[in-house]
């Protein structure tokens, strides 16, 4: 099961509720959490209801469209509030995804939003400072003060690997990292659509996939993070203990 954050991504029409971009609520287990002093439009909520439990569940079927579908519109044709459904964290590791492997652990509530991780990544891998070629990025919601490092979490069932039609991705048996055979990558972006964490990126020039490979065991983003938002998950640690 995943926890979800449902965010007002943008508003195409005119919402008189009014909802504002950045407004959000969270779904944790079977509970809906609306932040203090915020509200949620009943009509929009009823249009989202059916998909929320579906987005919470795991799916390893590469043909399943659910992991990739993220945007939902409110039903008011004049309002057109577009909601984005983000999977924020896994609530339990029972389904086995990444349960016992090593990997990156994220605590968004500690992230200062400084983006040093992006620079450390690009400097270590490309020898330059360039967030555009980093394999990690910090998603920021400035009005709400959310900073969320987005990076590969080494899922055990690796939907990106399953989604690649060219066999360009595989999972390293020892480190659990997703590794890329660049000659095989055609830049088709099927892995991007399959990733539940939105953690697959593409190189600006080569158009090929960029995905965290744990720097071979010593992730530079982790060593540059001073707040403890990005740490290494020990093999024995269950992913569900992240939060």
């Amino acid at each position: 099961m995943y926890d979800l954050r449902v965010v007002v991504d943008h508003i195409k029409g005119s919402c008189d509720m009014p909802m504002h971009p950045g407004d959000y609520f969270e779904v944790r287990g079977s509970r809906i959490y609306i932040p203090d002093n915020k509200y949620m439009c009943l009509w929009a909520l009823q249009s989202l209801m059916a998909i929320l439990p579906a987005k919470q569940r795991d799916s390893s079927d590469p043909d399943d469209w659910l992991p990739a579908a993220r945007y939902m519109s409110c039903p008011d044709p004049n309002g057109m509030v577009i909601f984005r459904i983000d999977r924020i964290e896994r609530t339990s590791s029972e389904s086995g995804v990444g349960a016992n492997g090593p990997g990156i652990k994220i605590k968004p509530e500690l992230c200062s939003g400084c983006r040093a991780c992006e620079l450390a990544c690009s400097f270590s891998r490309a020898g330059v400072f360039d967030p555009g070629v980093a394999r990690i990025r910090v998603d920021k919601d400035e009005p709400e003060g959310h900073d969320i490092p987005i990076v590969c979490r080494q899922c055990a069932d690796a939907p990106c690997v399953n989604a690649c039609p060219f066999g360009a991705l595989h999972k390293d048996k020892t480190t659990g990292a997703i590794l890329v055979t660049y000659e095989k990558c055609k830049g088709c972006r099927k892995c991007e659509a399959a990733c539940p964490n939105r953690a697959v990126f593409f190189h600006r020039e080569t158009k090929k996939v960029l995905i965290c490979d744990l720097c071979g065991g010593d992730p530079k983003c982790v060593s540059r993070c001073v707040t403890g938002a990005i740490t290494v998950r020990e093999p024995s640690e269950k992913e569900g203990e992240c939060r």
């Binding site: 971009p21 950045g22 200062s112 983006r115 330059v128 400072f129 070629v133 400035e142």
Partner: protein, 625 residues
């Protein structure tokens, strides 16, 4: 040889003709002025002739970032400069956040804006150049709305937006240019210059790498800097409280600007302190680009009439500005005041000075409630404070009188209010009482942008390190805040340290206050990053050059020694007995000034740089006539 570290290009935009061109950065300029504020000072002197009307199309607006910004060095920044409509002299402001590095990733060390748009517009600046975008739909929007709307319409949450709020559109003189919602280049009215050019915002999005000349050497130096920071005695308190820790510490010293400097002790300081905010409504630590000291914070007000208010910030200046300075002991109200200024797009120091000035005028019977639109101007009146912020932003009624800044407001009001206007050269004074910090007091008097602590930030005077003071400045007194001896040499040195931070565009907290980067380290970093051959003495000289050139700009505008002064209160009225360790103190300005001019090699009678000093700095071309 292609230069690394720098983006290597300067973008010049003609807003009138809607054209732009890229100029190649001259390595000689890089060596002589380093970057950021230095580049802006050079262009300001060269391209804005004396006597230019700051609000005419002839004024230019310069954005610049520095050679070390956008790397892993902590806390990248940018400077915005133009002739100031608020002060009429050198205008300049610096901000952190994410705009500076993004500008560099877009491929520009400096962006020069000339002329004036024919209609309200915003610019989208990328590696490909400039797109002129209509902004009629953004007219009147506040800073938060504008930033959010531009990101939405460009469909890119990683676009960095520097914009002005409604106050600038309404012609308020102390408007800033705001990036990241709450990170303004707030001082000296740069927002009004931007608005006068019919420009609502600049959006930048980068797609170019920053390259480094010697990567191994850079990583070794970075490690050294990391260790200095992590082992620094100020590291933990700065992470926990940032600048907000100053509220309680200055209050303990008896020099916290309270009720418009009528005293240096605020009886409700504990209710509005940084410690109080951190233990109640702070939700997490925040940081500027790549910074290892997350000294900023996000907060959500959890109770009271402002419940639900949330934002990054505030810094000390905003927090004290809307608490002790105006006599308010309600933390929620202070946060609301800062938030309103951020949304309308105004400088919190100038705004809080205007309001506290009005309150003192009312207390002394200089202005009546009727003149102030019937507002109750007693200290700490929350409704009055918030109403006045709005009235200033929209130039309504009494707000219109205050919206030109405190110097102009006092000229309009007259009746002796002039000597209550707490400014130097038209720029309002910060939230510490200069009587309790003599080096800072001198720094305020001589700063090139008017009253400003960030031009020198001589925090060494808190150190009480006698031996180091003798070594550096010849006398032990330089290490004690209430002494005046040695402060001329101290301020000269710290003006150059501050210029260094503003030129390399790395945070002043690290470079100046924590003394992590001095000229030796700066030269080593510049060599490793840019590949340019520079020695510590070259770096020091470049910083001295910047200070001198800014002075020459102001001399050309008619300023001299007579303008290097402070409001009468600080020179003549001692701090009261309630001010503890600072009680009885006044600013001994004259001896400090003379020591300063001598240290600077400026004429002691006029305060003007001598031809010999300018020749020594290679600035003969800037010699005042």
């Amino acid at each position: 040889m292609p230069m690394t570290g720098y983006a290597g290009r300067i973008l010049r935009v003609d807003l009138t003709k809607r054209t732009w061109q890229k100029e190649v950065l001259d390595p000689e300029l890089a060596l002589r002025f380093i970057g950021g504020r230095g580049f802006n000072a050079f262009r300001m002197f060269r391209e804005i002739p004396g006597g230019t009307d700051p609000l005419s199309a002839d004024n230019k607006l310069f954005f610049a970032t520095g050679p070390l910004a956008g790397t892993l060095l902590p806390g990248a920044r940018f400077n915005v400069s133009a002739k100031s409509p608020q002060t009429g002299i050198f205008g300049d402001s610096n901000a952190g956040g994410f705009f500076g590095p993004e500008m560099k990733f877009a491929g520009y060390d400096q962006i020069i804006l000339e002329g004036k748009c024919s209609e309200l517009s915003y610019l989208l600046i990328t590696a490909d150049g400039v797109q002129f975008k209509p902004a009629a739909h953004l007219a009147g929007m506040d800073v938060w709305q504008t930033t959010t709307e531009i990101r939405r319409e460009l469909g890119d949450s990683r676009v960095q937006v520097a914009c002005v709020g409604p106050a600038a559109e309404n012609g308020v003189k102390f408007c800033g240019i705001f990036a990241d919602l709450a990170r303004p280049a707030a001082r000296t009215g740069m927002g009004l210059v931007m608005a006068s050019k019919n420009l609502k915002a600049i959006a930048v999005r980068g797609s170019k790498p920053i390259t480094i000349a010697d990567r191994d050497r850079f990583l070794r130096l970075l490690k050294e800097i990391d260790e200095m920071i992590f082992n620094h005695e100020q590291y933990k308190p700065r992470c926990a409280l940032g600048t907000t820790r100053l509220l309680s510490s200055l209050n303990a010293l008896g020099c916290l600007a309270t009720r418009h400097y009528l005293t240096g002790r605020f009886e409700k300081a504990n209710d509005v302190s940084g410690e109080r905010l951190a233990s109640t409504w702070k939700t997490k630590s925040k940081a500027c680009f790549a910074c290892t000291i997350p000294c900023s914070r996000f907060f959500i007000v959890k109770e009271g009439p402002y419940s639900g208010l949330r934002s990054e910030g505030p810094e000390f200046e905003g927090l004290a500005g809307f608490s002790s300075r105006v006599g308010n002991g309600d933390l929620g109200l202070a946060l609301k005041g800062v938030d309103l200024c951020n949304r309308y797009g105004m400088d919190v120091i100038s705004t809080s000075e205007c309001i506290s000035f009005a309150m003192e005028c009312a207390e002394k019977g200089i202005i009546s409630a009727k003149e102030a639109d019937g507002l109750d101007l007693s200290w700490g009146n929350g409704e009055t404070i918030l109403t006045l912020i709005r009235k200033i932003a929209y130039r309504e009624g009494f707000g219109d009188v205050l919206a030109d800044g405190v110097r102009a407001a006092a000229e309009k009001i007259g009746r002796g209010s002039e000597e209550l206007a707490m400014h130097v050269k038209g720029l309002e004074i910060f939230q510490a009482d200069p009587r309790g910090l003599k080096g800072y007091a001198l720094g305020l008097a001589v700063s090139s942008r008017g009253a400003d602590h960030l031009r020198s930030e001589p925090s060494f005077e808190f150190s009480e390190d006698r031996e180091e003071a003798i070594r550096r400045y010849g006398v032990p007194e330089a290490a004690f805040r209430l002494e005046y001896k040695g402060k001329g040499r101290l301020v000269k040195d710290f003006e150059e340290r501050s210029a260094l931070a503003d030129c390399i565009e790395i945070c002043k907290n690290t470079v100046v206050n924590m003394e992590v980067i001095y000229f030796e380290m700066a030269a080593a970093l510049l060599k490793a990053v840019t590949g340019l051959d520079t020695e510590p003495s070259d770096v020091q000289k470049a910083c001295e050059r910047v200070v001198n050139l800014e002075r020459c700009f102001n001399v050309r505008e008619g300023l001299s020694r007579a303008d290097d002064t402070l409001p009468r209160r600080f020179l003549e009225e001692p701090l009261g007995p309630e001010c503890g360790p600072s009680a009885g103190s006044v600013v001994e300005l004259r001896p400090m000034l003379e020591e300063y001019y001598e240290a600077r090699g400026w004429d002691i009678e006029t305060g003007i740089p001598t031809p010999a000093k300018l020749a020594d700095l290679g600035l003969t071309w800037a010699t005042p006539h």
